[in-house]
């Protein structure tokens, strides 16, 4: 009703115009191209694909440009687009053992079949600002030396250990088991591991990182070792009902993390190593690691452990991991709430009047400055 909200339509139009202008910035500086973002800000693109839950580098790059580099806003744009896409079905399970490896490391073995491969990583780099990069011309880059050609198949570390019974086996789902999908059915509790992993894969990197960190600092300790991290390209296959066989749809880049955890056994299970699992689009290693640690912590019930910490609390973790939901609800506090605030004003005024009346009754000589609510010096 009041002026501040009258003419909202015009204000919104103008705000959007101003936003477009600010997004573009100084026009004497060349505009970013979507290709530049996809090629040179690939890790941002990967994060947006992960949390936006849609594998499309071009659209993710466009979203980053449109969102002025705000990655949660970009993921939101992707989600809102994704929700309109028709769904043909579910792909076959990815076979990450057949990954075209670009990076593969294990912290549990010095050497292992297939070898360790550092690949493109910030690890072991000195975090010194590279002022040469600020110069306009970066020049040609050094050629990369590779000693051995990579094997096609590179067995997963966890498969190497499993024959001894030391490592818990992958649970084999029945072919008839329906695929859980929280984008088609609202999440309900208790949530099975497939739904938990889907939720974590879409979850906010920062939230999962902090939860995983809390488990390292003693809030539900899970004794993690990095069994393996691998990053590379895997083929996605789809079973075509009409043809009766699998069809290759294309390849996507994913990071897979298998965290190996010491487990001293329980009434339900002998001592062995258990696992936490993380799989994300693109090279988003920090998230894949955090996801695998949170996944492991959430398995406390199945393994007969005690629940002591937030990271183990399925309902707490899964209900608050989605940053699109979180940012919407936190930021909705910007919307007008004056109707409810009016109701509260009325109540607080009444309660204050009652409070002062009650106090004056007890001590009729107490003086109160009603204007400011401050008590007079006693």
């Amino acid at each position: 009703m009041y002026v501040a909200v009258k003419g909202g339509e015009k204000a919104i139009r103008n705000a959007h115009k101003l936003l477009a202008k600010r997004r573009r910035g100084d026009t004497s500086v060349p505009s970013l191209t979507v290709d530049q973002i996809a090629e040179q800000l690939a890790l941002s693109v990967a994060r947006v694909m992960c949390e936006g839950s849609l594998y499309d580098e071009g659209l993710a790059a466009l979203a980053i440009k449109q969102a002025r580099g705000d990655l949660i806003e970009a993921a939101f744009l992707i989600r809102a687009y994704r929700t309109t896409l028709p769904r043909f079905g579910y792909s076959e399970t990815l076979d990450t053992a057949k990954m075209l490896i670009e990076r593969r490391i294990s912290a549990t073995y010095k050497d292992l079949p297939g070898g360790q491969l550092l690949g493109p990583t910030f690890d072991y780099s000195h975090r010194l600002l590279d002022f040469a990069m600020a110069a306009e011309n970066e020049g040609a880059l050094d050629a990369v030396e590779s000693e051995t050609p990579l094997n096609e198949g590179m067995p997963r570390v966890t498969d190497l250990l499993s024959d001894e019974g030391l490592m818990e086996a992958d649970p084999l789902p029945e072919a008839s088991d329906a695929v859980g999908d929280l984008t088609r059915e609202p999440l309900s509790f208790p949530a099975d591991r497939d739904l938990r992993l889907q939720n974590l894969a879409r979850g906010d990197e920062g939230f999962l990182l902090s939860l995983a960190y809390s488990s390292q600092r003693g809030y539900a300790r899970t004794h993690p070792f990095t069994g393996e991290i691998r990053y590379g390209e895997v083929e996605v296959e789809f079973f075509a009902e009409e043809l009766g066989f699998n069809v290759k749809l294309g390849a996507i880049k994913v990071t897979e993390c298998q965290m190996v955890n010491q487990f001293s056994g329980s009434a339900k299970s002998p001592p062995k190593f258990t696992r936490g699992y993380g799989l994300v689009f693109g090279q988003v290693e920090r998230k894949a690691m955090a996801m695998s640690m949170v996944d492991r912590a959430l398995r406390w019930e199945e393994l007969g452990e005690e629940q002591t910490a937030p990271v183990q609390d399925t309902e707490f973790v899964l209900s608050h991991s989605d940053n699109i939901q979180a940012t919407g609800f936190v930021e909705h506090l910007k919307l007008p709430h004056y109707v409810d605030f009016q109701a509260e004003l009325d109540l607080v005024r009444r309660m204050r009047a009652e409070w002062f009346a009650a106090r004056d009754q007890q001590d009729p000589y107490a003086q109160t400055d009603l204007e400011t609510g401050k008590e007079a010096a006693e």
Binding site: M1, V3, G8, Y81, T84, Q325, F329, L335, D340
Partner: protein, 311 residues
């Protein structure tokens, strides 16, 4: 990434269905709505979609509206009782763009009214549907944060906790200290959150002629109150439910017995109270009702919208 990526954005990627949602999604939402109508006050889980506006900004209401909207409907959208609040403007614009339906600010002319935090002052009729945007659908949420627990409590009709809370209010304050989102019992069974409307609006929910649909997008719940359903605000025999009352009429249109917003006029304690329902207020002024502040310079500024309209 060998191909220039921008080529992967196809030209047909920019078109959307009537009212944005695809028909399968609308059917899914309609099924949830029908179930909600069949079990008044029960929160039906539904596969809420990501919408092109943020969660918490009306995605539940927008999905319900999109699912029930037909080409011949006339839509009104209000927020805080007013058609001109920024988010109401944005949502109305969304449906103008994606569905091309007629929109109105007149309560009487609307077939669907989407609202946040208010129910119009004018009584609605049986040809109208009122769609609420709901942030937290669970009335027991702030007493018990776990969904697993609250669902059980509803199933067992175990509402003791809520009564204890209201009792504690009385013990501590001498009255119930809930002013909005005041819990109600629907059709003698489910306790329901009427969304954060001020409790002033609770009596309107009872036995309303219009169908009421409540959509919570982020929390993925839909619930409903069919027309002519008994809705009782929770209270005690010796502490009956009562609504807020204002000791002055609307400063602009002199209306009494309506919900008023307090507007601060200056930094010297100057205030006026005006109708929260802007359409109701404008209509009254058009019919010649003038409030005590109507001639005040500050009020002229406040009623600017009406003057624009009149010209």
């Amino acid at each position: 990434m060998t191909l220039p990526v921008s080529k992967s954005i196809a030209p047909d990627e920019g078109s959307y269905n009537f009212a944005y949602l695809d028909e399968q999604t609308k059917r899914m939402i309609r099924r949830a709505i029908l179930k909600g109508i069949a079990i008044p006050g029960y929160q039906v889980p539904f596969a809420s979609r990501e919408m092109p506006m943020p969660y918490g900004w009306g995605t539940g209401g927008v999905q319900v509206t999109a699912a029930i909207l037909g080409a011949d409907d006339t839509l009104k959208v209000i927020d805080q009782g007013s058609d001109d609040t920024t988010n109401a403007v944005a949502i109305r614009g969304f449906f103008e763009k994606t569905a091309g339906v007629a929109t109105t600010t007149s309560t009487e002319d609307a077939s669907i009214i989407q609202t946040r935090h208010r129910i119009p002052e004018m009584a609605l009729n049986s040809n109208q549907i009122l769609v609420f945007q709901v942030p937290i659908p669970e009335p027991l949420r702030f007493l018990e944060p776990r969904e697993t627990e609250t669902r059980k409590m509803h199933a067992l009709e175990e509402y003791g906790l809520m009564h204890v809370k209201l009792y504690e209010d009385i013990a501590k304050n001498g009255h119930i200290a809930t002013t909005y989102a005041y819990p109600v019992e629907v059709n003698g069974r489910y306790v329901m959150d009427p969304s954060p409307t001020p409790k002033f609006d609770n009596p309107k929910i009872d036995n309303m002629e219009a169908l009421q649909l409540y959509g919570a997008g982020r929390e993925k719940r839909i619930y409903a109150i069919p027309p002519y359903t008994k809705v009782k605000s929770l209270d005690f025999d010796d502490y009956p439910f009562e609504v807020q009352s204002f000791d002055k009429p609307c400063g602009l249109c002199n209306a009494e017995g309506v919900y008023l917003d307090e507007v601060i006029l200056d930094d010297k304690g100057g205030r006026m109270f005006v109708c929260s329902d802007s359409d109701h207020c404008e209509e009254r002024r058009a019919n010649g009702h003038l409030g005590p502040m109507a001639a005040d310079p500050a009020a002229t500024l406040l009623s600017g919208g009406t003057q624009e309209k009149g010209q």
